[in-house]
């Protein structure tokens, strides 16, 4: 069952040669790129970034490696956290709300904290910085994926659960045979979105200044940052082209084949007419070499792994009753130990943080809240403007099936492209025409986040049932009536989902979009984002903590007071079918 591709017996073809070269190149590249991660460095002498376009493939590789390591970490986290949260009712009561809060925390605000922490772990090596960047990407990916997995786990169809129980499958067999396959489609989809969002964090985390030091990790993001500092427009264009290529390549060579492969995990008992396709998947499927590798890697290795764990689980299940009792006591003890340890440490950190915060006077707190209100205003305007244009365009695309088929993947790629890489163009434009940046920061926020809304609106418009569309045509509804009665209610849940994602993204983006620079000239908009950015550079710890705390308060409050109720309403009233 673990087999991915049908084992088609055929001769060795030229395609196999190609695949072989590809696999070899991939292995070598990973080793080569990995070597660079553990280079020693002094904070006073950061590794220089070479603006020669010839260096870009290497930098792109390093960025890509970072992305995939973070993705693997996210997957690992997803499976363990999601599984425990779904299976243990007590743990779930705490873990799910925690995940919800984690999800709404603006990660970029923590970057400085991450970097100093990670550098302390690996002193004198670039590995610390590397780790911080990977962690930043991880925090941008993991929560959504975990939610998806958790949701799948708790919605496994009842009859399949009963069947597994009567078939006496143990927890491991259930996980591999039922729960993982069942969650596969949702998880792939969410991974794809999370990975796309990860590029933004990559670009933002490779080059950052903390405590007055400039850190540059070899990668596309820092290439860009160096180009900006030098005012080298050509290099900026190179890095953008590289970025687009990366996004498209990952989409074509990784996500598309994966999406096609996961179709076999559909619960539907009938084949839908529209099947996703992928040429890369077709090649892989036809390759004899892949079939061979598949046999060795998946069937033997993964199968062997599955069986050994299974034996272990069985052995643990048959241990004597006394053994079980002891194990039970040990497990309970370990559990409580973990809880007490966590509470203790959390308490300690909270106390330390509180001490830092208490050095700040009330006036400053108020001032920071005022800054938060400014950023909140910008986020709101950005979302509003984004909705204003994406709503008609998205509906127009979604209601034209041919257009949608062509444009949907394009929008998806646009959403993946890290918007912060487009900032320099806007910055140069603003500088030339001396635009008021207090307002000018808003379009920067929109650059990255509007795509999520557009994407969801298209999906919503596509999902409007055909009979409703026909009915509205037959009744000859006016344009206004049609929007009022059919389009808006139909896309409402999707729109809200899109806006929630976009608003989270906009808060994150505020940290990089309220303060931009070009050739040493800074443009600053008064707000919480620029505040956090500034105090991070200065290394003012109490202010950093204050800034992040206030941002968390804003985001969580808005989520709870506005988006959550709206989402509940959308789910209950306007969900079609």
């Amino acid at each position: 069952m673990l087999t991915g591709f049908n084992n088609i017996r055929r001769g060795f073809e030229w395609m196999d040669l190609l695949v072989a070269v590809f696999v070899f190149a991939l292995l070598y590249a990973i080793v080569h790129l990995g070597e660079g991660m553990n280079v020693s460095f002094e904070p006073s002498q950061p590794p220089a970034i070479d603006l020669d376009p010839g260096a870009l493939p290497y930098y792109a590789g390093r960025s890509l490696l970072r992305m995939f390591i973070a993705f693997a970490a996210s997957l690992l986290f997803t499976f363990s956290y999601g599984y425990v949260a779904a299976k243990s009712r007590t743990a779930g009561k705490f873990m799910i709300p925690l995940l919800d809060v984690l999800q709404s925390i603006p990660v970029l605000g923590f970057l400085s904290v991450l970097i100093t922490g990670c550098m302390a772990v690996f002193p004198g090596s670039l590995l610390g910085l590397e780790l911080a960047s990977i962690l930043a990407i991880f925090t941008g990916q993991a929560w959504n994926m975990t939610f998806s997995f958790y949701h799948s786990l708790i919605t496994v169809p009842h009859d399949l659960q009963e069947a597994s129980a009567v078939l006496r499958l143990n927890w491991w067999q259930r996980l591999v045979r039922l729960e993982m396959p069942y969650s596969m489609i949702g998880l792939t989809w969410n991974s794809m979105m999370a990975f796309g969002g990860g590029w933004f964090f990559l670009a933002a985390s490779e080059a950052i200044s903390v405590l007055g030091d400039n850190f540059r990790l070899p990668g596309v993001g820092s290439y860009m940052a160096t180009a900006i500092a030098d005012g080298n427009m050509a290099a900026i264009v190179y890095s953008i082209v590289t970025m687009v290529l990366l996004v498209v390549l990952v989409d074509q060579f990784f996500w598309r084949p994966l999406v096609v492969w996961t179709q076999k995990f559909k619960m539907e008992m009938v084949d839908s007419t529209e099947q996703p396709t992928s040429w890369a998947h077709d090649i892989l499927q036809q390759s004899k070499l892949v079939a061979f590798l598949n046999d060795i890697l998946v069937e033997r290795l993964a199968g062997g792994f599955y069986r050994s764990v299974n034996r272990l689980v069985e052995a643990m299940a048959v241990t004597s009753r006394r053994g079980k009792k002891v194990a039970g006591i040990l497990l309970t003890a370990a559990r409580w130990g973990l809880v007490v340890g966590m509470v203790y440490h959390a308490g300690q950190y909270a106390y330390a943080g509180w001490q830092q915060l208490s050095t700040v006077d009330a006036g400053q707190v108020l001032a920071v809240f005022r800054l938060g209100a400014l950023t909140f205003g910008r986020v709101t305007i950005a979302i509003f403007l984004a909705v204003l244009w994406t709503l008609p365009v998205g509906v127009w695309i979604g209601l034209n099936p041919r257009l949608a088929r062509f444009l949907q993947p394009v929008v998806q790629i646009a959403a993946s492209f890290p918007a912060n890489m487009l900032f320099p163009f806007v910055t140069v434009f603003y500088l030339r025409h001396s635009v008021n940046f207090e307002w000018g920061a808003i379009p920067l926020m929109m650059l990255g986040t509007q795509w999520y809304i557009l994407f969801n609106v298209i999906a919503g418009a596509i999902a409007i049932p055909n009979d409703l569309r026909e009915a509205s045509r037959i009744f000859n509804l006016s344009l206004i009536k049609r929007w009022q009665k059919m389009v808006l209610p139909g896309i409402f849940p999707y729109l809200i989902t899109g806006i929630i994602t976009a608003s989270g993204g906009a808060w994150n983006a505020s940290i990089v979009s309220e303060l931009v620079s070009w050739e040493g000239k800074d443009l600053v908009a008064r707000g919480l984002g620029s505040y956090i950015n500034a105090v991070t550079t200065a290394g003012d710890w109490p202010s950093i903590i204050l800034g992040i705390a206030v941002m968390c308060v804003f985001v969580v409050a808005v989520n709870r007071l506005v988006w959550r109720p709206l989402y509940a309403l959308a789910e209950e009233k306007y969900r079609l079918g």
């Binding site: 069952m1 009567v166 078939l167 006496r168 045979r177 396959p181 076999k264 995990f265 008992m269």
Partner: protein, 429 residues
Amino acid sequence: MARALIELRNVFRQYDIRGESDAIVLENINLTVFEDEFLAILGPSGSGKSTLLRIIAGLVPATIGKVYYLGKSITGVNPGVAMVFQSFALFPWLTVRENVMLGLEGKRLKPAEREEKTLKAIDMVGLDGYENAYPKELSGGMRQRVGLGRALVNDPDVLLMDEPFSALDVLTAENLRRDMLELWLEKKITTKSIIMVTHGIEEAVYMADRALVLSSGPARIIEDIKIELPRWRDKNSPEFSDMVDRLYSIMIKKQTQEAKAETTADTSEWSPVPVVSAGALTGFLELLEDNNEKADLYRLAERFVMEIDDFLPIVEAASLLNLARIVEGDIELTPEGARFARATVLERKELFREQLVKYVPFVNKIVKILDAKSNKQMDIDFFKEMLSHHFSPKETDRQMSIIINWGRYAELFDYDDDSERLFIERDED
């Protein structure tokens, strides 16, 4: 005397609702299933027959009472059973072979042995040639064969079947029934006993050696009869029809007696209302009136091509509202019923309203409560709360929605989904 395989002693099952466990699903079930016995469990829908099967399987624990397998009390999944599901419960991402092999996953076997047993089971249920097909490539009947193969591959002592044929079309179901019986009667399988939940009386008489009839409400065993007709049974034989008729009238009588008895008793307020829309009831009464005289219930159901599960609640609703009455297995319209059938749409509403207030105390209560309020409206949760003391959460929702359906049809009260309130339209005059 045959050996007892499964034994249930004083089994109760109730839902816990906020500590007050009022909603009893199964009440005092005592049952012994013997070797070489094919047992059918019959009962109206929602009577808890599936719950009973799941208690035997060990999927659902009994609230009180014990289940024994070969004389040993079981906790957790019953080690001697395998199960076939109404929905087939196949894993869509596994092939036929892999699905069947899943039945052996819990056992320690050599790979070759595993393979051999799997192929044997696939052969047995008539699926050879389809080993590598995925469930979505198969027809419904073939899918259920996979479900059967998966259950049999493990050589269970007891095979549990939860309405195994009801998701199939008539011909496919008939075909599968025969094949199933052949496996059983000709001892091609090692299974020692089969327990099948069904709502098809004919199906039970055709296949089983013994039938249990459960009552609705809290389910009790109201009848336990042997079906001792010679095998292969002829559905057209008078003995066969007699048996079907007998079971039919047992089910109908019990139901209507319960309904009658309870309308006069104190607890009547809380006897469940049959889940039938006002529209279906109206249609039924019209058909009865066309029929012009009293009719045999069983024949009537056959003529309307209705499953007993759909048919019984309508009969029950009609007699609850005193629009029809049942006399010795026959049904006839009451004078009110006859008037109703001939009336215009508006007159019908009027009549329905009268009967509803008269015979359904809960509706009467709702109207009184709404009337007493100055704004003539009330939160739906208030009424649900009242129901929830007597029904499971799911049943509470079902009861509430059917009562709203009736109330709307009778124009007694209406419900606003946005504010979640029941209300009476205020007269403007």
